[in-house]
């Protein structure tokens, strides 16, 4: 009996109370926040897909993101096999070319009509035939096409498109490339957008994670030392942090990326180090503040009186108590990391080919957006959803782990 009582705390009515840990409590609060919970699922989904992308590719569920099929270039998102779309695309092109050829014909009619008698005008090699007498120059594309010596680009393209159409139709059942299904369409080199977005996300999320970890570690180390040791060291560190805060750091990252040069720029190790080096500032300030407010509390006093060393006090006693704040800040830092990385990639200073991050994909999509909007919208929406969920998750975690926070917005 006495044993049992020792295990569980008892309240004033002698009821056994189960102790609730900080984490269980936070989890309970987080679960109540629907948006944060959904965000958590979405983020987990992104991370799982990113982790298992190579497996999906090798199983054949996902098309290889490097596979270029020139014939399947710039197909719209669809559930149908690529062959059908290619046929439809060529047919549409032929229709528009025929339209243009007809317009041209009419214009030429009018033109010849006004230049009455100017027989040397149609030096194109068109057949004038017996209509030459009337002065109206009749130019039918079938005739020109079959005579095969036209220089008119519209008609030449029309002929080649028709040949391609025949070709595609003949191969429709035999060529495996035409059986591929591109859920999110293809880019201008005939690569699967879905696969590219997933692999781009792998790189973006990896840079976000590794960068956040690096920045958090540096920030925790510097912040905790500065806060615990105090005195002149604290002063010095905080002055340095203040000055670094004043620097336009994104501009300095741009300079670093520019001076590194094309080759090394491709390696994203450089990229995240460049961003991480300047991102530890906020977290070091936050950790420092927490440590200062905790370092004179009783449990630290107790540890010190038992002869614990300074590193032990910092790492075993103080830091675990600031973990909640650190987690919240790291979660909120990750989207800004991903955004900064994509910002650089968008400007052409980040990840370079053949690798692609979300930023690269968006910048490629921008170039083609007028005709092929999905090449912009696909990566743009994928990225926005992830950032959106990370932000919501961060807010939810803050409410859950730090319910009295004054930074609630």
């Amino acid at each position: 009996m006495a044993n049992k009582k020792a295990q569980h705390a008892v309240n004033e009515f002698n009821q056994v109370m189960k102790p609730v840990s900080l984490w269980a409590d936070a989890w309970k609060r987080l679960r109540k926040n629907k948006m944060a919970l959904i965000s958590l699922y979405v983020v987990s989904f992104y991370i799982i897909i990113s982790l298992f992308a190579p497996v999906l590719t090798s199983m054949g569920i996902l098309i290889d993101y490097r596979k270029q099929v020139i014939n399947n270039a710039s197909l719209p998102p669809s559930f149908r096999p690529a062959g059908e779309l290619v046929v439809k695309k060529i047919e549409a092109r032929i229709a528009s070319l025929e339209e243009r050829a007809k317009e041209k014909e009419q214009q030429q009619d009018a033109f010849s009509f006004f230049n009455f008698g100017a027989a040397e005008q149609p030096a194109e090699g068109g057949e004038m035939g017996d209509q030459g007498e009337t002065g109206a120059f009749s130019f039918t594309y079938e005739g020109a096409g079959f005579s095969g010596n036209t220089t008119d680009p519209v008609i030449r393209e029309l002929i080649s498109q028709k040949e391609t159409l025949e070709h595609v139709k003949a191969e429709l059942d035999t060529n495996p490339d035409y059986k591929l299904v591109y859920l999110l369409g293809t880019d201008d080199l005939g690569r699967d957008m879905l696969a590219r977005i997933i692999y781009g996300g792998r790189i973006s999320i990896a840079i976000g994670l590794v960068g956040t970890l690096t920045a958090a570690l540096v920030g925790i180390l510097i912040g905790s030392i500065s806060g615990y040791v105090g005195g002149w060291l604290d002063n010095l560190i905080m002055r340095v942090v203040d000055i670094m805060y004043g620097l336009p750091y994104m501009l300095i990252v741009i300079i670093i990326m520019a001076m590194i040069g094309e080759k090394a720029r491709g390696s994203f190790v450089v990229l995240f180090v460049a961003i991480a080096l300047v991102s530890w500032l906020t977290i070091s300030r936050v950790v420092r503040g927490q440590i200062i407010s905790l370092k004179n509390s009783e449990f630290v006093e107790a540890a010190r009186s038992m002869g614990a060393s300074t590193p032990r006090i910092i790492f075993r006693h103080l830091l675990p108590n600031t973990l909640g704040v650190i987690i919240v800040f790291s979660t909120l830092m990750m989207p800004s990391f991903i955004m900064n990385e994509s910002f650089l990639s968008f400007l052409g200073l980040g990840v370079s080919a053949p690798d692609a991050s979300w930023g690269t994909l968006v910048s490629e999509g921008v170039r083609a957006m007028e005709s092929y909007a999905w090449q912009l919208l696909g990566p743009g929406i994928a990225m926005t959803i992830f950032l959106f969920c990370m932000n919501f998750l961060g807010d939810g975690l803050r409410d859950a782990l730090d319910p009295q926070s004054k930074n609630r917005t």
Partner: protein, 308 residues
């Protein structure tokens, strides 16, 4: 107050000094010079080129020379645009970038605070939900997605706004899309921030006192609540402005705005040393001055802060 101002203004100098020094040595330590691209330059010509740009001197001497030039606001010739000096490029672009940046900031503040007020006064009703949703979306959509999507919708599909260029070609309409794109994330954040702080102030004692005195609700909101609630917004203006300055680099590239953002990216890509340096100096000066102004405004709003 004046004393504080002077001290703050003087404290800009070390920061600027560090920025210039850091970027100078970062760039000079980079492998490959600005002329690395011209492959078949004969040795003698290369020597002459280096001499013309004083790059044959020892590094430290170059550094001192550069510092001297910057103090006189002379950034030298551009390495890439042979007929232009860096000062000409900056002088031409700066007014454009400034007008875009200031417009965006004003739009973000005015729209953000208004949405924040409406949202806070109608807490947990539909205007509030819409405002909160818009705010989170605004924070999550990157500028370089927002800009092209707006171009696609309003420029290419609806054809009601120009997709690029500037006032000289398209009139004031040309400013709408870039300014909306640039201000949107900050509008969103300011809306969130002011909503939260208004809600907090509404619960405070002095508001209860004001209501107990029988003041009209409009007076309470406009004179008492807003003044107290604007403090966090003002603090955020510093970061918001620097974000807008950095973001303008992207927005100017997307919308082909002839400011200083595009030359900056170009100079970074083709290692136009003098131009990069000048851009960094100009941007730093703008940012630091903006932070100073924000601090002063903060002091005017909050009587509890005293300047020593």
């Amino acid at each position: 107050m004046a004393r504080y101002f002077i001290r703050r203004a003087l404290s800009l100098i070390p920061t600027l000094f560090i920025v210039i020094t850091l970027s100078f040595f970062l760039i000079r330590l980079a492998p490959g010079g600005p002329f690395a691209r011209e492959r078949d330059v004969p040795e003698a010509i290369l020597q002459n080129l280096l001499k013309r740009y004083h790059m044959d001197e020892p590094l430290f001497k170059q550094y001192l020379r550069y510092m001297g030039d910057v103090v006189r606001w002379d950034f030298g010739p551009s390495y890439r645009y042979r007929d232009l000096t860096v000062n000409e490029i900056i002088d031409k672009g700066l007014p454009v970038s400034m007008s875009l940046g200031v417009t965006s900031l004003l739009m973000a503040v005015i729209a953000g605070v208004s949405v924040g007020i409406v949202s806070a006064l109608k807490q947990n009703r539909w205007p509030d939900y819409i405002a909160v949703a818009v705010a989170v979306i605004g924070i999550s959509v990157p500028l370089f997605v927002m800009g092209p999507v707006l171009q696609l919708i309003f420029g290419m599909k609806l054809k009601i706004l120009p997709i690029g260029q500037w006032i000289s070609t398209h009139g004031i309409k040309a400013m709408i899309l870039p300014a909306v794109t640039l201000s949107f994330p900050y509008f969103a954040y300011i809306a969130r921030l002011s909503r939260a702080s208004i809600l907090e102030v509404l619960r405070s004692d002095y508001i209860r006192t004001a209501r107990a005195k029988g003041l009209k609700e409009s007076v309470v909101v406009w004179k008492h609540v807003l003044k107290g609630a604007m403090l966090p917004v003002v603090t955020y203006l510093g970061p918001a402005f620097s974000g807008i300055v950095v973001g303008s680099v992207v927005v100017e590239s997307v919308f082909l705005v002839p400011g200083i953002g595009r030359p900056f990216v170009q100079s970074a890509l083709n290692r136009d040393y003098t131009l990069i340096m000048a851009e960094v100096v100009v941007y730093s000066v703008i940012l630091i001055i903006a932070n100073l102004v924000v601090d002063l405004v903060y002091g005017l709003l909050d009587p509890r802060i005293s300047y020593k």
